[in-house]
C-alpha cells in the first residue's frame, strides 16, 4: 500500500508543488483512473483535460463526489492528498 505523507504536500487548500509526480500519479491511478481513465481522457467519468474549473471547485468535487456517480473522498483521502490531485488535474492539458 502506498500512502502519501501530508508533509509532502503542505497544508490543505494550498497548491502542492512539492508532491513527487510519481506519488501523485499513483494516487491518481488508485483512486481516479477507473472512472477517468489512466490517461485522464475519461472512462465512466468525464475527460479531465482542460476542464476550466478552479482549484476549489475541483477540490470540492473530490471531497463531496457526485451522487450515484462519483465517490466522496472526504474522510477517505487526506486533505493533502486531495490538494495533490487538484494539482494533478490542473496539469492535464
Amino acid at each position: 500500500m502506498v500512502l502519501v505523507s501530508c508533509a509532502q504536500y503542505g497544508t490543505s487548500g494550498q497548491p502542492a508543488p512539492s508532491a513527487p509526480p510519481s506519488v501523485t500519479r499513483t494516487l491518481y491511478l488508485r483512486n481516479c483512473a477507473h472512472c477517468h481513465g489512466a490517461d485522464g481522457h475519461g472512462d465512466d467519468g468525464p475527460d479531465l483535460h482542460d476542464i476550466g474549473w478552479t482549484n476549489e471547485q475541483i477540490a470540492n468535487r473530490i471531497r463531496k463526489g457526485k451522487a450515484g456517480q462519483m465517490t466522496a473522498f472526504a474522510g477517505k483521502l487526506k486533505p493533502a492528498e486531495i490538494d495533490a490531485l487538484v494539482s494533478y488535474v490542473q496539469s492535464l492539458k
Partner: protein, 322 residues
C-alpha cells in the same frame, strides 16, 4: 450473422478468433445455450438440456453461480436508475434454478462508490439468495479511496493481503485473486509480487488433475488493453496454472460475456447485473452503455456453472434477465 460482420476486427491475442463474431455467438448463448467444456474442447447444447444435465449429476457434483458488477449506488438516468432492482431480478433468477447453487461467486464491483451504505445494501440484498455461501473478490470500484479497507472489513474475512483467498469444494480448487488495487500506468490491473508468490505456493503440491477455478474482477487475459481490460502480470499467474488439466478463469469488469479457450484454460467473462458496456473498440471509450430501456435486461444476467465429478469438466451457462 451478417456477412460484413464476419471478418476479424480485433485479433489482440493473435489466435485468429473473431471477437465480433464470437460476441454474437455469446449473445446467442445468453438467450439459452449451454456450453460444456471438457478437456479444453467446447461443446454446446440447447439450454433445456440443462434439466437433464442436472438429473444426471451424481454424488460429488455441484453447481455454483457467478454474479458480477452489481454496482450498488450507481444511478444514471438513461442507463439504470435502479441497480438494486436489477440485482433483485438476478437473485430471483438464481432462486428459480431447479437446483439451488451450492454457493455464489461475486466477481467484484459490488458497489459503485465504495460507500459503507452501499456495501451494507448489497449484503442485505444477497441475504435472500438461496445458497449456502457467497465468496467475493473486489472490483476497482470497491477499493476506491481507502485501498479496499471497507471492503476487507465486510467481505474479506479469512482472506490474505488485499483479499485473495482459496478454498476447495468437492475436489475442485477455487482461487479468488485481487487485481484491482494497483492499477498500472497503462491502465491494466495487476496482481503484484506478493499475491503471485502466494498463488504459486497455494498451487504447489496439488495434483495436476485437480480442476481449478480462478476468479478475479479484471480479466486475467488481454481482452482489450487499450481500455485497461486485462491484467499486466496475468501471464505469470497463468504460468503457474499451465500444468493443470482443467482450468476455468471467471472474470467480470467488462459487463459482457466473452469466452476464450487457450490450451486447457477456458476464460469466461460475465454480464453485469447493473449496466452494459460497449464491445471493445466499438465506442470512443468504455463505460456505462445506454440501451433502449426495454432492452436493458437483455444485457444483464448471471452465469450458472455446473461441475460433474469424474468428467473433469465445467458447464458454463449465461442467461440474461430479459
Amino acid at each position: 450473422m451478417k456477412t460484413k460482420e464476419k471478418f476479424i476486427v480485433h485479433d489482440h491475442n493473435k489466435d485468429g478468433l473473431d471477437r465480433r463474431g464470437f460476441l454474437e455467438c455469446m449473445a446467442w448463448a445468453g438467450t439459452g445455450m449451454l456450453w460444456t467444456i471438457a478437456g479444453g474442447v467446447l461443446g454446446s447444447a440447447l439450454l433445456p438440456a440443462r434439466a437433464g444435465a442436472q438429473d444426471s449429476m451424481g454424488k460429488g457434483s455441484f453447481s455454483f453461480v457467478q454474479i458480477s458488477d452489481s454496482h450498488i449506488g450507481f444511478n444514471k438516468a438513461g442507463i439504470n436508475t435502479d441497480v438494486a432492482g436489477t440485482l433483485k431480478e438476478a437473485i430471483a433468477r438464481i432462486n428459480a434454478l431447479p437446483t439451488p447453487p451450492d454457493f455464489i461467486l461475486h466477481t467484484g464491483d459490488l458497489t459503485h462508490l465504495a460507500a459503507a451504505e452501499e456495501f451494507d445494501a448489497l449484503e442485505q440484498l444477497l441475504k435472500s439468495v438461496k445458497t449456502q455461501q457467497i465468496f467475493y473478490v473486489p472490483g476497482e470500484h470497491d477499493v476506491t479511496g481507502d485501498n479496499g479497507q471497507l471492503y476487507l472489513q465486510r467481505f474479506g474475512k479469512n482472506t490474505k493481503g488485499q483479499g485473495w483467498h482459496s478454498f476447495d469444494f468437492n475436489g475442485v480448487h477455487f482461487v479468488g485473486l485481487v487485481n484491482v488495487v494497483d492499477i498500472q500506468q497503462n491502465g491494466l490491473g495487476a496482481l503484484g509480487n506478493d499475491q503471485l508468490a502466494w498463488l504459486e505456493d497455494d498451487l504447489q503440491g496439488r495434483s495436476s488433475d485437480t480442476p481449478i477455478v480462478v476468479f478475479a474482477h479484471i480479466p486475467l487475459w488481454s481482452v482489450y488493453p487499450k481500455w485497461g481490460w486485462g491484467t499486466d502480470d496475468g501471464a505469470q499467474a497463468l504460468g503457474f496454472l499451465k500444468r493443470f488439466g482443467s482450468v476455468t478463469v471467471l472474470n467480470g469488469h467488462i459487463h459482457q460475456t466473452m469466452k476464450k479457450v487457450e490450451g486447457r484454460v477456458t476464460f469466461h467473462t460475465a454480464m453485469s447485473t447493473a449496466f452494459p458496456q460497449p464491445e471493445p473498440g466499438q465506442a470512443p471509450k468504455p463505460g456505462p452503455m445506454k440501451v433502449d430501456a426495454g432492452k436493458l435486461r437483455d444485457y444483464l444476467g448471471i452465469t450458472d456453472v455446473n461441475y460433474t465429478e469424474g468428467k473433469n469438466s465445467l458447464a458454463v451457462v449465461d442467461s440474461t434477465l430479459g
